[in-house]
Assembly symmetry: C2
Homo-oligomer: 449 residues x 2
C-alpha cells in the first residue's frame, strides 16, 4: 500500500503539544478575564445557513467564504446551502435576534471559536484562526459606561498574559464625523471615504493622506486642521484639553467629545493603569459598522504587528434579523495571529507545567504501588502520570523533560523497603530523598500549587 | 428591508448562556481529568485535505462527509479539495504520523473538538457534535497497563460530573476471536461478521443472534456455547473464574484472558470503584479497528442512551500515513449527545455560579465608587459585574437572577455615607447589612470559593 503524505491544509495552524499547552493557557486566561467581568460564554455552529450568513451579499466578504455541502448534495450538483462563519459578529447578531426573548440585557457575552476565510493560499494568509470576542449588547440603549469597561478587561487580560508594553489606542468617530459635518461635508459616503483615508496614516504617511483628502473635496486648510488634530500626542488630559480648546459647536462633535471625556473618567474609576491606554484621534477603523468609540491595541515595540485587539461601539447589531434596536460595544482578540506574532519575537508566556509529576517505573514488580501512589497524589490535587512501559530510567527522564514535567519520582526496591522516594527536580537538576510521609507536603512546596 | 429569519442549520446544537455554562463546566471537568493523568491537549484544523481524510474511500464514511470549498473554487466548478473531519481518530492518526519525530512516546493526548457528519436531516441526527477523545499511542509497542488507566480516568471524570450510576463495561475481543479460531472458524472476515452479530444482542435479542450465527456457518452447539459465554453475569472474579474454568488452549484466547486478568488487577491498583466497571463479554464493538480491550459506558438507569463513552485497543493507528507501527488505546466521550441525553432526563450537573456578584446601580452619582469596588473585589478573586444602566432595582435583581448570579450588592447614598453595603442573597432570598471593612471576608464565606 502506498502511503499518503500526512499534511494539514495551507493557511491552517496546528501546534505541537507543548505549544498547544501555551495556547490553551492563553485561552484560559482570556476566558477567566472575560468571566471575571460578568461575561457569559456563547458558542455557535461552525456553519450557518447561507442566506443567514451572507446578508451583506455581493461584498468583499462573500468572495472569502467557504461553502459546505455533503457528499449527496455535491453529487446532485446542488448549490451549497451552508457556509463556514467568517467572523463571530454575524453569528452574534443572528444569536441575539434568534434568542432575544431568552437573554438578559444588557447581554454580556464572549465567544472564543475559530473562524474561516476562503482566501487564496498566500504566504501568511490564514484560512482558519481563533477569535476571542467580547461584546455587550443593549436593548434599545446601552450606556457609554460600557465603552470604558471593555478595554479595562483587555488590559487585565494582556497584563495577566505577561504581554509587556501594550497600549490600547482609542478614539470616538463622532469627533471626526462632527468636524466634517461642521464643515458642510455632510455626505455620509464621503465621510466614510475620508475616515478610511485617515485610517491609512500609519501605512502611507500624512503626505499621501493629505493628497487623498484634497482629492475628496476638502480644502487644504481643513485638511491641515484635520491632520493636526489626528496627530495630537500627549496625555489623555492634554488631548481632552486640546479638544475643549477648539471652538466647535457641532452637536456630533460635542457628543463625541463628551463620550471621550466620560470614558477617560470611567477608565480611571476602574483603576486601569494610565500607561496602558491612550487617546489617538487617528484611530478611525475602516469599518463603517462602528459609530462611536473605536479601539486598537498595539504592542509598543512591535507596531508592525498591527492592531492585535480591535473593536468599537455600534448602533445596531442585528438589523438584518430583527426590528429590535440592539446597540453594542465590543473588542476581539485575534488569538491565533497574536500567538504567532508573539512566538516570532519570543514573547510568548512560558509553558505552564500542566503535568506535575512523572512516577517512573524502576521495578516492574512494584507497578501496583506506582499506580496507588499516583491515585493518592491525584487526590491531593496533583497532575500525575505513570510511566507504564519498561524502559531505561534515562529514557523515562528524557520523556518527562520533553513533556515539560518538572518532577520525577523514583522508587526502586530499596526505596520501597525503606519507605522513601527519590524526587528528581528536572527543572533545577537536583535529586533528593524524601520520606513517604513527608512526600505530599514536600511536593506542594516544590510545585507551589 | 425585509428581515431574514435568524436560525441555525438542522442537526446543530446551540445553547442558551445558562446551558452553555453547564456545557463549559463539563468540558472543564473532562479537561482537568484528562490532564490530571498526564494527557496533553491537541487541536487540529476543522478541515483536512480530502485525500488525507478519506483514506478508507468508498466506505460508509464518505457518504457522510461535508466537503468545503471557497467561493472561487465553487465558481470554477472544481471538485472540493477539503472536507470537515468526521471524527477525531483520523486527525489523530494524521497528526501522529506528521509530527512523529517531535512527540514523546507513549504519546498521551486528548482532543476536544467538534466533528461533522453530512447526514440527511433527520430527527435526532446530529451534523455537528463535540467529541472528547483520550488516547495513548505507543511507538512499536504499548503496555496493556494503559488499557486499565483509560477507563480509570473516565470513572474519575464521570464521578466528578456527578453522573450517578454509570458502568463501564469492558471485554477483550481476543477471547471471542480465540474461541472462533479454536473452532476452526479462522476466516477473519467471517469472524468480523460474527462479532458484529454479537454486538447486536442488546438490540435484537439472543434468538435472532442465534439464527444469524447459525446462518454464518457456526453449528448450534457452538453458538449456544458462545451465547452462554457472552451472557455471563457476575463479579469480575466470577467471570475470570468462568473463563479459567474453560478448557481452552488457543493462544489468542489465552492472550485475551491474560490481558483481561491483568486489567482487572490494574483497575484495583488504581483504586477504581469496583461498582463502576464490569466485564461484559458481549461487548464486541462493531468496528474492526479494535483488536483487544473494548469499552462501552452505560448509564445504569438509562440503557436506552446507548454507550456514552466507548473505545478500545487498536494495533496500528496510522498505517495509511507512516510505516511506523503505532499501537494505541483510547476512549471517546460524545459530549454533545451526552449533554442532550442528561438534559432530557434532568440529570445535568447544576449550573455553576460563574459570576459571583452583581453590583447594582442605586445612585448614578456613585457610579465611580461602584466601579472601584468591583475592581477591588476582582483583585480578591471574585467575578464581579457592574450594572451600568440606570434601571429600577427590581429590574436589576431580575437580571442577576436570570444570569444565575447568587449575590447582589446594594449601595445607595445612605449606605455609602455609613460605610456599609446591603448584600442580597438571591439564592436564599435573604438580605443583610455588612460593614465595608468586613465585606470581602463575608463574601468569601457566602460564596465558599
Amino acid at each position: 500500500m502506498s502511503l499518503i503524505q500526512p499534511r494539514t491544509p495551507a493557511g491552517t495552524v496546528e501546534l505541537l503539544p507543548r505549544e498547544q499547552v501555551i495556547f490553551q493557557h492563553m485561552m484560559d486566561v482570556i476566558r477567566r478575564g472575560y468571566e471575571s467581568f460578568g461575561f457569559v460564554p456563547v458558542e455557535t455552529p461552525v456553519f450557518e445557513v447561507k442566506d443567514v450568513l451572507l446578508t451583506k451579499s455581493g461584498g468583499e466578504t462573500e468572495k472569502q467564504v467557504y461553502f459546505v455541502q455533503s457528499t449527496g448534495a455535491l453529487k446532485q450538483g446542488r448549490d451549497p446551502d451552508l457556509a463556514l462563519r467568517f467572523d463571530l459578529t454575524v453569528p452574534l447578531a443572528r444569536y441575539v435576534a434568534q434568542h432575544e426573548r431568552n437573554l438578559a440585557f444588557p447581554f454580556r457575552r464572549y465567544q472564543m471559536q475559530r473562524v474561516y476565510r476562503g482566501e487564496r493560499a498566500q504566504r501568511g494568509r490564514s484560512r482558519e484562526f481563533y477569535q476571542c470576542d467580547l461584546d455587550v449588547i443593549g436593548k434599545d440603549k446601552l450606556d457609554t459606561a460600557y465603552d470604558a469597561e471593555i478595554p479595562a478587561i483587555i488590559v487585565e487580560i494582556f497584563t495577566e498574559l505577561g504581554i509587556k508594553g501594550f497600549t490600547i489606542h482609542f478614539s470616538n468617530r463622532k469627533i471626526l464625523l462632527g468636524l466634517l459635518s461642521a464643515w458642510d461635508m455632510e455626505d455620509s459616503e464621503k465621510q466614510k471615504l475620508i475616515l478610511r483615508e485617515i485610517d491609512k496614516l500609519d501605512k502611507i504617511g500624512p503626505a499621501k493622506v493629505r493628497e487623498a483628502l484634497i482629492a475628496l473635496g476638502l480644502d487644504a486648510e481643513k485638511v491641515d486642521s484635520l491632520l493636526a488634530l489626528v496627530a495630537l500626542k500627549g496625555s489623555k488630559d492634554d488631548i481632552l484639553a486640546a479638544l475643549n480648546a477648539r471652538d466647535e459647536t457641532h452637536p456630533i462633535f460635542l457628543e463625541g467629545r463628551n463620550e471621550l471625556t466620560k470614558m477617560v473618567a470611567s477608565l480611571r474609576a476602574l483603576g486601569v493603569d494610565e500607561a496602558r491606554t491612550c487617546i489617538n484621534l487617528a484611530i478611525a477603523r475602516g469599518l463603517d459598522y462602528y459609530t462611536g468609540t473605536v479601539y486598537e491595541t498595539l504592542i509598543d515595540d512591535h507596531h508592525a504587528f498591527g492592531s492585535v485587539c480591535s473593536g468599537g461601539r455600534y448602533e445596531n447589531l442585528a438589523g438584518y434579523y430583527t426590528k429590535s434596536k440592539l446597540p453594542g460595544v465590543g473588542m476581539s482578540i485575534g488569538l491565533t495571529r497574536l500567538y504567532e506574532q508573539l512566538a516570532a519575537v519570543d514573547l510568548l508566556p512560558p509553558a505552564p507545567h500542566k503535568i506535575h509529576i512523572l512516577i517512573t517505573q524502576m521495578d516492574a514488580s512494584l507497578a501496583p504501588d506506582y499506580l496507588e501512589l499516583a491515585a493518592t497524589l491525584r487526590k491531593e490535587g496533583f497532575s500525575v502520570e505513570n510511566y507504564l512501559e519498561q524502559s531505561k530510567l534515562d529514557k523515562q527522564l528524557k520523556y518527562a523533560d520533553k513533556k515539560n514535567i518538572p518532577l520525577a519520582l523514583l522508587i526502586g526496591s530499596r526505596e520501597s523497603e525503606a519507605g522513601v522516594v527519590q524526587v528528581k527536580d528536572l527543572v533545577h537538576h537536583a535529586q533528593f530523598e524524601v520520606e513517604r510521609g513527608d512526600l505530599v507536603a514536600r511536593l506542594y512546596e516544590l510545585l507551589k500549587i
